[in-house]
Symmetry: C2
Subunit: 370 residues, 2 copies
Amino acid sequence: MNEFDFIQKLRAQMKSRKASPRVLCGIGDDAAVITQSLGRDSLITADLLIEGIDFHRGATSPRLLGHKALAVSLSDIAAMGARPAYSLVSLGLPEDIWDTNFKERFYEGYLALAEKFGVTLIGGDISRADQIVIDSIVLGELRSGAAVLRSTARAGDQLFVTGALGGAAAGLKLIELGARLSEPPDSLSLWESAGVRERSLAGGAVARMSEPPAVAGGPDQSETASIDSLLLRQLRPDARVGWGVVLGDERLATAMIDISDGISSDLNHLCLESAVGAVIEAAAIPVDQNVIRLCGRRALDPLALALHGGEDFELLFTVSPENVSRLPQKVDGVPVARIGEITDAPGHVRIREKNREWDLRPEGFEHFSR
Amino acid sequence: MNEFDFIQKLRAQMKSRKASPRVLCGIGDDAAVITQSLGRDSLITADLLIEGIDFHRGATSPRLLGHKALAVSLSDIAAMGARPAYSLVSLGLPEDIWDTNFKERFYEGYLALAEKFGVTLIGGDISRADQIVIDSIVLGELRSGAAVLRSTARAGDQLFVTGALGGAAAGLKLIELGARLSEPPDSLSLWESAGVRERSLAGGAVARMSEPPAVAGGPDQSETASIDSLLLRQLRPDARVGWGVVLGDERLATAMIDISDGISSDLNHLCLESAVGAVIEAAAIPVDQNVIRLCGRRALDPLALALHGGEDFELLFTVSPENVSRLPQKVDGVPVARIGEITDAPGHVRIREKNREWDLRPEGFEHFSR
């Protein structure tokens, strides 16, 4: 049983209980929704980030980690069409990390992002742990009944995705190959002072890969910039907060999910919840330009990364045909692409490329694959 | 710097930022308080429980752990005088635990307690981790402006504590000595199926201690019952939800905190926040009867356990003199004891025993003592 199956089981169990009539949406969406009085609903989401699973000490920095911890939860609130408002962080730290300035830097990264979106940190907890453990909790708000669920897509709705895909997964692959940021955004050397044996991050002047690049003469400057850009997609993801607010406020999206596990997984989640199918056009998928560039030189498939790679934190949403013309082209400089449409064939998620068409099976990340 | 100092630092930093006017209470109390519309406030608290730090796999069971995870956060909501309403749990599990029925049993214990207090589980997250990691999040509600803070005690207020103290700390000491529950409340043998090397818990018919008891002839039946009772104070704590609601609804408490770190620490927190002092009577401290009984036989000091032992999750609160007579004697069968009073000597927390009087210094648990 993987974690999705277990969550479904728990959700079924909760449905059989007498639930509070004020819970509009409990387990099973990007965030839970509770009715408050006077036409406002509250939302809440929690995301666990565990060292060695969700990030690697040697490849990131405390400040980047603080940013990412908040971003992943902001993304869940955006995926409900809501505005983030308050947050909590629970932090489990190994003793050697406690004695460094990790905490200060972590909160610098975290609070800089919080400030950008007007989010107030109101609580959390701190404990000791064998590995770094972060639980990120964000509360959001929106007009009563305006939450955009996963379960409300209808046949004929057009399917859109913000930004570009595949970058975060490519960044992860690069990290696994040994690539590091060419200019660390904050002093990463603190890891060394904490007695960490992992490869130093502060020493190198350019992005490095343990596998030599496939081009002759080593990485050129523009390749370095591409690698940095992909690493940052993985290490410092952006949450589409602006898009979330617009789609919710204007009631433009009929259903929405954020791409955390990969579009193949997340589109399947959305279709399953809505009891619909979908067909997407391979040529319409907005693949990250840096992925195309680097993959081309290494005979990798950029489309596979864009479809199955997780952690892009873009928004995948559906719009009814009559509302498509009302959709802005960009929000906060981030474009949107129409990639396909919803069909009335429940569970059938298909992808078309030229004359071929096949099932888009979920191949996203699972913590527990048995 | 210990975690309390760091939290104070973070709190000062947050105060210097432009905070949302709707945050009535942010970092630094048992829970955060946010104003909602129509005369209601929302509260939220998060508590991290880490294997090896906050509990030991070999001494508890998944169901007890589920109960405790929720109870510790219910206690924080009670300590604000509020009613719990919704909850989330984030769970990090080692892969060998995932393959057992840990999850099912954990949620059984968790949901049984949730149901008792009308709490609806609305979300959370699941991830892989090297050790069991639990982040317990509870949301509560109360009438606008009725939250009982730590910072509002006044000189002359009388100091009360619910229930009895020292039991949970004695239970922890017994566990460390090897004592186990005589009748495991659910199948603990699952730990074995998970390949855990720790001492089996299901085999014994009576509570066992690796140190032989100080009385001749081994543990008698009533000693076994006392040990079980203390172990359960540690492993299955009760949150004083009923007391919290009564004290909040009736506006009886002027300030309140729950005893999670030990009364010596928590009373100091309350006095520091309220800029007052306190004097308590040693003879008035309600020491757990089983602690007195077992300590007496082992030449340990029951009062020290009651003062400095954490995790009793009783409520420590102040009442203005004119309201003392309105205080109920019991709520849900749990009595209350007057233990002292608030003074106008900021930071001076004193304890009196017969003719002696001394400073009650915080000796509660710290995760990071440097």
